[in-house]
Amino acid sequence: MEQVTINLLNGLSYGMVLFLIASGMSVVMGAMNIINLAHGVLYMVGGYVGWTIAVKFGAPFALGLLTGGLAAGFTGLVIERGFLRHLYKQPNEQVLLSFGFVYILTNLSLWVWGGWPRMPFTAKVLSGSIEILGRAYPKARLAIILIGVILAIVLWWLQDKTRVGAMVRAGMDNKEMTMGLGINLERVFAVVFFVASFIAGLAGVLGAQLLGVYNALGLEILLLALIVIIVGGVGSVQGALLGGILIGVIDAFGRALFPKFAMFTMYFTMIIILLVRPSGLLGRRA
């Protein structure tokens, strides 16, 4: 029983990190039709900036979270305003350009932070473990689950219950009609891109509690984000949440029960979902 609980918690904490990285990317793909492969390196930028603030300068972890999110948000905004907005409806060019940013930002991080990985870090109050069913469990992981749930609610509220969210959803369904109603969709999209990048940066700092930060992270995390989006479906926060949790939990149990096949469990899940529901579990159908 305690092993099931521990692995469920492991899956949930890992799944929340996956949800946060995938949610922004999914909404950008769904709302703006932009395939931003630089989303993974925005996660990495957030992690590095958060590390600099919280570990190098010894500032509170919460400040590291905020600055990590802002750094990624503004970097994303520069990419969107400076480059990607000229490439709407040109998916091949978007892929090439955003993948170029993967290399640029990875090498910039190598130059700024060096090649040695930065160790997992967390707030002082979150370091150490608490006992769950007689076994030690890291407090930082429980915090990740809690923060993930709060952010999921906020993002869902933003998407489904606010005027901006309604504009984004309208733009997803019919861009021309929405613009015809006098909505400055370009500005809305810039805000969406900033928020998505901000969340990626935030996830970078939160995820650093588990993974640390290193300069290959951008590509590694991108692959995971794409799997979550495929499973959960493009364009919805709920889909990213479901996909993240599903992949996280399956991965945790796969590693615990079938360690030799751990590499394949999440890919196997993705294949099954693709066969049964090609648009993902909660994807918006065309």
Binding site: N7, Y14, G115, P120, F121, G128, A136, R255, A262
Partner: protein
């Protein structure tokens, strides 16, 4: 006639002058394939420092021939390593190549290098099969030879049972095979072997399924994974003693400081320790700190020792880099190195000391403190 006398006079002046100033021989090219980009990008500069230091100690020449070092970026990619090695051989005409690092690159390059009769080296161990080619210098030893002492040490510490966490790729299997061989040779028993994929982000699920044993031994392939494994091992409150492999190379001092108390008490195998008190080592560490402004680690040591061995062989051949003469000379090299005494088997596999270290704080610094030495370790399969 006057012209002839003039020529003779000119020659009389020029020839002794050239002899007096030591006319340089044809440059001797040494190639190196190191990683400056990709996941192992941080390792390339360190390996390069070791090579540069060894060359500088010889004034960048050997037997009157100036040495030209040509460094290529292998990008932590076997295909790129092969391309760069081919470039070094075919365009630059290098007959000696240092590196690459990764085992998959060794396998990709080996047949080509054997065909071209190029002397080539590993940078951090290699599979025993490289010895079959008889053109590879495998330093500091084979994968198995490197970690064998950890198995012996586990037994010597009174442990009877062991859980093994092994990174699931050829190198990982090789390293942990050494631990198992050493432990089982002394009648220890491995009760569980957990294979984890390369690049594992979350070790939590594995830690929660470990069986009870006297100790846990592990190999994961890089700094980020080693650090995560140790941190998460502590977070999950696993109490069994943790024994690691390739520790000093994967977790240098700066990384240990970030790991903090989590790393204290971890013991394991290390190929080189900068803090080992030995006159040759002390002098080298001081010289490296002066030259590069940082305390050297196992990576600098490896490339330094390999380069020093090649230079010693070149001195023995009088600067002749033709393969057959150079190979015969290099496997006979015996050196006192910062790592300890160095010699080679006829297959080109280095025989070096094996160290066991423990993470401690000494004088306010996190260090790998050498606690046991297993002298001149040889892969037992070579003895047979």
């Amino acid at each position: 006639m006057k012209k002839l006398i003039l020529i003779v006079l000119l020659l009389a002046i020029l020839v002794p002058a050239s002899v007096a100033f030591g006319a340089p021989g044809k440059p001797l090219k040494i190639g190196a394939v190191l990683n400056f980009t990709g996941p192992a990008a941080m390792l390339g500069p360190l390996f390069k420092n070791g090579i540069v230091k060894a060359l500088e100690e010889n004034n960048n020449q050997v037997a009157g021939r100036p040495i030209e070092l040509i460094v290529e970026d292998g990008a932590t990619d076997a295909t790129v390593c092969l391309e760069k090695a081919r470039k070094l051989v075919e365009r630059d005409k290098a007959k000696i190549i240092i590196g690459p690092l990764m085992g998959d690159a060794h396998l990709a390059i080996a047949p080509y290098m054997a065909n071209k009769k190029v002397l080539i080296t590993t940078l951090y161990c290699g599979d025993i099969k490289l010895g079959d080619y008889r053109n590879w210098l495998t330093y500091p030893t084979t994968l198995v030879g490197l970690t064998l002492p950890l198995g012996w040490y586990a037994h010597d510490s009174g442990y009877k049972t062991m859980v093994m966490i092994t990174s699931d790729y050829a190198g990982g299997h090789g390293f942990m095979k050494g631990v198992r061989m050493g432990f089982e040779e002394k009648r220890g028993k491995a009760v569980q072997e957990v294979f984890v994929p390369v690049g594992t982000a979350d070790f939590g699920p594995y830690h929660s399924t470990l069986k009870d044993a006297d100790c846990v031994a592990f190999f994961v392939p890089n700094t980020a994974e080693s650090a995560r494994l140790i941190t998460q091992y502590r977070e999950f409150g696993v109490k069994m003693p943790l024994l690691g492999t390739t520790l000093a190379a994967d977790l240098p001092q700066a990384v240990m400081e970030e790991l903090g108390d989590n790393v204290i008490g971890v013991r394991g195998q290390a190929a080189y320790i900068w803090s080992r008190d030995d006159p040759v080592n002390n002098q080298w560490v001081e010289a490296m700190e002066k030259r590069f402004g940082r305390t050297p680690g196992g990576l600098e040591n490896n490339s330094y020792c390999i380069t020093s061995a090649i230079l010693a062989a070149l001195k023995a051949t009088g600067g002749d880099e033709s393969f057959d003469r150079l190979w015969r000379a290099v496997v006979r090299v015996q050196l006192a190195t910062p790592q300890g005494p160095l010699s080679f088997t006829p297959e080109g596999i280095a025989i070096t000391d094996g160290y066991i270290v423990e993470a401690k704080v000494i004088n306010g610094k996190y260090v790998w403190d050498p606690i046991k030495v297993y002298p001149q370790v040889l892969d037992p399969r070579l003895v047979k």
